[in-house]
Amino acid sequence: MSNEAQLTTMEMHAADALLTEQDVVFNKPSHWQLAKTDLIDGALRWRIWFMLAYQDIKLRYRRSLLGPFWLTISMAITVYSMGYLYAHLFHAELSHYYPFLVAGMLSWSLLSTIVTELTEGWTAFDSFIKQVKLPYSLYMHRIACRNLLIFFHNVLVMIPVYLIFFHEVRINLNTLLVIPGLIAIYLNTILYGLALSMIGARFRDISQIIKSFVGVIFFVTPVMWTPDLLGSKKYLVDLNPFYAFIELIRQPLLGGTPTLKNILVVTLATLFGAFIGLKLFTRYRARIIYWI
């Protein structure tokens, strides 16, 4: 009994001491300000995301003799064998079809891996996020950067193509257009990543749905087949944003340029991505930690 009485008085005593000092002014930044800080901070901490991205690749090929060049080799095995077989299937000129397919597969594997990984942009790193406070956008840079590094390994499979089919494809000034293409893809990875990772964290089925869709998109997008095979239905391809993004990389690799239509679609897709990504991120950024 006396114990209980003691407890009550002590609790009352506690109530006096615990009050937050009254003179404290709380600054209440808006959702948008916090989101903006996160985005800027995430980009500025390039040391961290670059290190993490590099570490991801290094870790995967630890103790293997060739290291990350296994990426190049497995890509080479896939595209070289596919190229030969499908040129016959489509009755296409080998010297024409082969470079087209190799460059297309390079672009496709970059895009498809990014999309798949973005659906788990935060959930994949949950233990990290729960231990260290880092900007959420930093993980988008990690994924984008990691996939670009992989792309730079993969792109080496183009070298034999340039050597063998030198009269069909060549490295010229247009090839430099790969750089703005990659920048556009990087930017879109961040923007769409904010949206996809957000939805993927809250609704776990979404990432599974998107993953299975990526498989379908491969077949409906001109990666293996050329758009002119569609004849009068060619508009189906022009509306496909994946096609536009693939052309952004494939055409420069083949020494050509993407069409204005491609660039227009990419621009629209980027604007849409900026809208939806920033909107969702501003609105739900603070909830991410509770969802992952």
Partner: protein, 252 residues
């Protein structure tokens, strides 16, 4: 000067894979853990910090006391800005150095040195800054040539040495510690203790959660007793510990 202010801060965890209906009626108010309830969308919500007020200033060394699930770790993560409060206002001025689950982020395939670089980078250091510190870290671990070997070859004691040396190589303003770790042999414990004390002395504000009364009595000048996410007592260490143990006896 570092300072922490919380006003009416609450943290609610949504739990999505549990159906409200499958829980017992009138949700249990359990001995451990926060309050389980239901939100407007019929999701189960666990309130793990409940309307907490707190002000800490330079020189404060706060010990968090409470049962498992009373909200100690959540509060530490809140102060580390990992969780954002679902309600209430908070101000935290000063660089926060959390030492929560320190084993986390250690890559078994990488060598001790590589792990030092990785952790250093995550903590925001440049390569140059890490280079300057790497020798003193290496010395504290006492692992010698083992640092050039993959961490998976380490014994658990060696692992603790590495992790401890890396995590204490910081210059903290606000230091957050969850369950002070004790492992390793006597020789290392002595070193670790000295390092820990110097770390505590360097920091402006320290908040530590532990079940070891001795540590709280030795290192803290204030204590906060949490129960089900609610502040039960804030003030002197002795009173808080007394209340904590008293409550245990009453409930027994």
């Amino acid at each position: 000067m570092a300072r922490i202010d919380l006003r009416d801060v609450s943290v609610d965890f949504p739990v999505y894979n549990v159906h409200a209906r499958s829980l017992k009626k009138n949700f249990l108010r359990v001995a451990t853990g926060g309050n389980v309830s239901e939100d407007t969308n019929h999701h189960v919500v666990v309130r793990s910090i409940n309307r907490l007020n707190l002000s800490l200033r330079h020189g404060d060394r706060l010990g968090l006391i409470g049962h498992n699930g009373s909200g100690k770790s959540t509060l530490l993560r809140l102060l580390a800005r990992i969780y954002e409060p679902t309600e209430g206002d908070f101000n935290i001025e000063g660089h926060v150095s959390p030492m929560l689950e320190i084993m986390h982020g250690i890559e078994a395939e990488f060598t001790g040195y590589e792990n030092i670089y990785i952790r250093g980078t995550v903590l925001g250091l440049t390569r140059q800054e890490i280079k300057q510190q790497v020798d003193s870290i290496a010395e504290l671990t006492g692992l010698g040539d083992f640092l050039a070997m993959p961490v998976r070859t380490y014994s658990s004691g060696m692992m603790v040495r590495l992790v401890f040396a890396i995590s204490t190589s910081i210059k903290p303003e606000i230091l957050l510690i969850d369950e002070v770790f004790g492992a390793g042999d006597a020789d290392f414990m002595e070193k670790a203790r000295n390092k820990m004390i110097s770390l505590l002395n360097q920091s402006s504000i320290v908040v530590m959660a532990t079940h070891a009364d001795v540590l709280i009595k030795e290192f803290c000048n204030k204590a906060l007793l949490l129960d089900g996410g609610k502040l039960k007592y804030f003030g002197s260490v002795d009173t808080a510990l007394k209340l904590y143990h008293q409550k245990e006896n009453v409930s027994n």
